[in-house]
């Protein structure tokens, strides 16, 4: 059964108004709350019993699978290992995400370790949102790991966001790209108060003519800290780009370290990075359209994290 808090969390992290249609697996407080499979998407508990294996048949097109996680039990730190096997030539969307509701002073957390094996010429869109709600003072932590393996011609689109309330996050993203495969990763993180978020990214460009694009957008408010590390490690003729922008407000602090490694003479790697306050010309433009200073700041941040 989904209670009011569950519904709010599901809506926030997976844009679900209730139980989704199609394949899904909802995990609540470390246990299975509900599961549905489809003709082309199978979900089963892994042999270790600490996660699930999602198997998508080759050629599956236009289907989606939702795998949200809810943590509302005081003091629980839920760790889960999920494996996604995406068949050749398929085109699917996976919506993940974790919502923590903290109502006490006890620590709560979730560590989702996701491994994706994307078959030849398959396309996967992965959307992951993390949020923590509730009035409790307990520390809320979310430490996700994603490991993506792309076979020849495969494509992954990954949208990763942490939209508020998370006290500590330590994220690791890894990707290995085969020939002619591509990956676009967009990460958006908003921190406030005394929150801290670290994002570590390692992308190995192993196959000829593979492409990687990593975009990071960070907004750092209050006394919060965000650090972003990204490495493109090219071992073939390939193209890679890192774009990382951080907006600092109040006393926020940020370290951004893009790193490029070319182990092949035909590798083309670029990066652009910026850290700073909201640009004055942006504020003046929006104020000249009638917004107040505060409204202008909010609109700029909304757009930046959109």
């Amino acid at each position: 059964m989904l209670d009011a808090i569950d519904k709010e969390l599901l809506k926030t992290v997976a844009e679900l108004e209730g139980i989704p249609k199609g394949a899904y697996n909802i995990r609540k407080n470390g246990k299975l709350l509900g599961r549905e499979v489809s003709a082309n998407i199978n979900i089963e508990t892994n042999p270790e019993g600490n996660g699930i294996i999602i198997n998508i048949k080759p050629g599956t097109k236009g289907e989606s699978v939702h795998i949200p996680v809810i943590v509302s039990q005081a003091g629980l730190n839920d760790v889960v290992y999920n494996t996604f096997i995406i068949g050749d030539d398929s085109d699917v969307t996976i919506v993940a995400g974790c919502g923590i509701h903290c109502g006490t002073s006890k620590e709560q957390g979730h560590e989702g370790i996701h491994e994706f094996r994307i078959g030849k010429n398959a396309k996967m869109k992965y959307v992951e949102k993390h949020v923590a709600l509730g009035d409790g003072k307990g520390k809320r932590s979310l430490n996700p790991t994603t490991k993506v393996f792309l076979e020849q011609g495969a494509h992954a689109e990954m949208e990763l966001s942490q939209i508020g309330g998370v006290d500590a996050a330590d994220r690791l993203n890894e990707a290995e790209l085969g020939p002619e495969s591509s990956i676009n990763i967009t990460e958006r993180v908003l921190t406030d108060g005394n929150q801290k978020a670290i994002s570590r990214n390692q992308i190995f460009l192993k196959g000829n003519d593979c492409k990687a694009n990593m975009v990071s957008r960070s907004v750092i408010k209050g006394d919060s800290i965000q650090d972003f590390y990204a490495t493109l490690d090219a071992r073939a003729k390939c193209f890679g780009h890192i774009e990382c922008d951080a907006i600092i407000m109040d006393n926020g602090r940020n370290e951004t370290v893009p790193s490029l490694k070319a182990g092949h003479s035909d590798a083309e790697l670029t990066h652009e990075a910026s850290i700073g306050k909201i640009a004055n010309d942006q504020l003046m433009k929006l104020m000249s359209l009638g917004l107040t200073y505060e409204e202008a700041v909010n609109r700029i941040i909304q757009g930046f994290l959109k």
Binding site: D245, L289, Q302, F304
Partner: protein, 253 residues
């Protein structure tokens, strides 16, 4: 409608010898813009044209003097308050945003999310709404494209006074005439008082009244024909003047 009284703007300055001082950029300007008229402001580089426009919008703070709009003293008004009062400003170098789209900016200006209205506004400035509606207004746009979006946001405000700072910067030659027609139509159909800061003859010709500014003062008001002698005089090299006197000034022409 908009009255500038003894308007002055100074900024801190370091002279070529390294001494701090005060530089007067707008020097005691008195002028009244009348409702529904089309004004062009021109003058040499560094004469104070953009500064004057920014003082009217509240982007620069007046050093002394006052600005009255429809009888109200707006000298201390913020940019936001001036926008609400009906003053709009089209920037010479429009801001670029990451993530904020053309739709976002125009919907803020027009105070509507109605897609039909937004697309109509975009198409009025000569760009395809389908191509631009959900495009971020970022560094990927060309100089001309962003200027047209800037123009669309100004028109979307339906202002009482619209100030355009060098609206033709980056615009292709065959789009300038339609742009002038668009501004004239806004003037005629909506009674928009229009102030264009420009060096382009087509805007100077289109104006009901031409103002020439030099060294922070209005030195001429009238039509373009009467200004030609003066404008021809400005076409001589003024490199040394722009760079604060003769110290270190080297003109290689």
């Amino acid at each position: 409608m908009l009255e500038l009284k003894n308007l002055k703007f100074t900024s801190e300055n370091i002279d070529p010898a390294g001494k701090p001082g005060i530089r007067t950029i707008i020097n005691d300007i008195n002028f009244t813009f009348e409702k529904g008229k089309f004004y062009a402001i021109t003058g040499p580089n560094g004469s104070g044209k953009t500064t004057l426009a920014k003082l009217i919008m509240g982007i620069n703070e007046v050093t002394s003097g006052s600005i009255l709009f429809e009888g109200r003293d707006i000298t201390k008004f913020s940019i936001t308050d001036r926008a609400h009062a009906g003053i709009a400003y089209s920037f010479q170098n429009p801001a670029r945003f990451k993530g904020t789209t053309c739709r976002d900016l125009i919907s803020i200006a027009a105070k509507t999310d109605n897609e039909e209205k937004i697309t109509r506004l975009i198409s009025r400035v000569g760009i395809c709404p389908l191509d631009f509606l959900d495009k971020p207004v970022d560094s990927k746009l060309s100089g001309g494209e962003i200027k047209k979006i800037e123009l669309a946001t100004t028109i979307a405000l339906d202002p009482k006074i619209a100030i355009y700072d060098e609206p033709d910067t980056g615009i292709d030659l065959w789009t300038i005439e339609p742009m002038v027609k668009l501004l004239k139509r806004e003037q005629c159909e909506h009674g928009t008082t229009t102030i264009v800061v420009s060096h382009n003859k087509v805007f100077l010709e289109a104006a009901d009244l031409l103002l020439i500014i030099n060294e922070g003062k209005i030195i001429y008001t009238g039509d373009l024909n009467g200004a030609m002698t003066l404008l021809n005089d400005f076409s001589i090299c003024n490199y040394a003047d722009i760079f604060e006197g003769e110290y270190n000034a080297r003109c290689y022409r």
